[in-house]
């Protein structure tokens, strides 16, 4: 099992991000906000996983997501910050 660390940076304090990591056999979910900023550390067996990220970018602020402890990802980490105020969604494929 490899430790995979997911961090979310929420600037302005009013945004949030829900992150799912799943495969055919596992499904994990974590909620990031100003009061629960993480990081979120997962123990994952080597293999391919999909990551779903959905949240809200605060007006004038941004939300950043980074996944560390992985072999590779599509798209590459860290993700470009979500800057447009409102809802955002991003799918990611990772190899552990």
């Amino acid at each position: 099992m490899n430790p995979v660390t997911i961090t979310a940076g929420i600037l302005l304090g009013a945004g949030d991000a829900t992150v799912n990591v799943f495969s055919h056999t596992v499904n994990y979910s974590h909620y990031f906000s100003a009061v629960s900023p993480g990081p979120w550390v997962l123990a994952l067996a080597p293999g391919n996983y999909l990551v779903g990220i959905v949240g809200t970018c605060p007006p004038g602020g941004s939300v950043t997501i980074n996944i560390a402890g992985i072999v590779s990802s599509v798209p590459a980490m860290p993700l470009p910050p979500f800057k447009t105020a409102g809802k955002f969604i991003q799918g990611v494929s990772i190899t552990v």
Binding site: L50, G60, P81
Partner: protein, 379 residues
Amino acid sequence: MKKAIILVTVMFITAQLCLAQTDLEKNESTINNLATEMFNSKLASYIRLVAKDVTSNQSGYQLNFSLIAFKDSTAWTSAQNYITANNRFLRNTQVSLGIAHKAKYGDATAQVTFALTNKRDSTLFVYQDRQSDQEILNILRQATTDYYDKLVKGGMSATDADKKSSAGYLAETAFLADPDKNKPDKDFDDFANSEIKKSKTFVSSLTLKEAWLKQQQNFNDYAKQVQRRALWTLTPSASYNYTYPGFDKLGVGSIYLVSLDKNIKNNPLQLDIEGNLYFGQDSTKTTPNMDQRIAALSVGINYVINRNAKGESDFEAKFAGDFEHNWQGGVKQKTPDADLTIRYNIFKDFWIPLDIKYDSTKKGVFGYVSVTCNLSKSK
């Protein structure tokens, strides 16, 4: 002719300052963008420049700035702008510095505005839709599994089915993020749209794309509602006459601004109540004094006549009645005045307010043109 030259010069300088911020970080549909120009005239988001009554013989220039403008000014070109409950005071405190050129003398004015109630600030509200966000992810995960199972049952190897279902998942999320630029994998999209019908969170008739757009719309609606919340400010002020020299005005003012119409589909209709108590100059005397003791009340209605495609105000009109009482002995009381202010957005943050007053004392209608520019980070 001289007035026209001054007006053109001021417009040119202000326009340059407005255009200079085009390289700043841009955010669409931010709540501050949805503020009416009248709201900006009461409390600047960052910095506001005003060339006031430039066509009259009482013209003046004013600089309004929120204290927060200096805290994060070095970060204006980045996404970083920390505003928390701890620095709320900076966001809600505005300093105004002005110079007025009247017929015979000049005034320097200093004001500090404290927002006692400011429920509109985009940086302070919290919008969360956690349950719907999680449900979107659940639907996508289940659609990925269903798609994979269908491919394997159709004879595809587990490895290829995994690659194809993963690609379908990534295409679907990209499609939801930007439907105009990206297309979904049709089979995956069918599974996702089938899965959403089982959801108890979303209306079953919606496709996944429609459900996601609905979530975005909910946020935008919330942003518009925030802009209709109340603002209440308290403003101590002082004017220093540098011709005499000496102070010629000391007082305190308060403003209450609230939307009368909470329906976000309608253009904003705002009630603006402004009260002032001050000691002022009796201009009939030749020596510096603050003999006037005045209570002034202005009650107005501001209506946004037009909004652009983003929902931002670009044309407003305000009608107000002004009442005044002077406790100074032996003076004739001023009769109520009527005031119409039309604000038109020329481009970007560049506004031309036209103020038309009916002066009941002089029995005439007078018009004043001003120029304003709101410099802000989150535009």
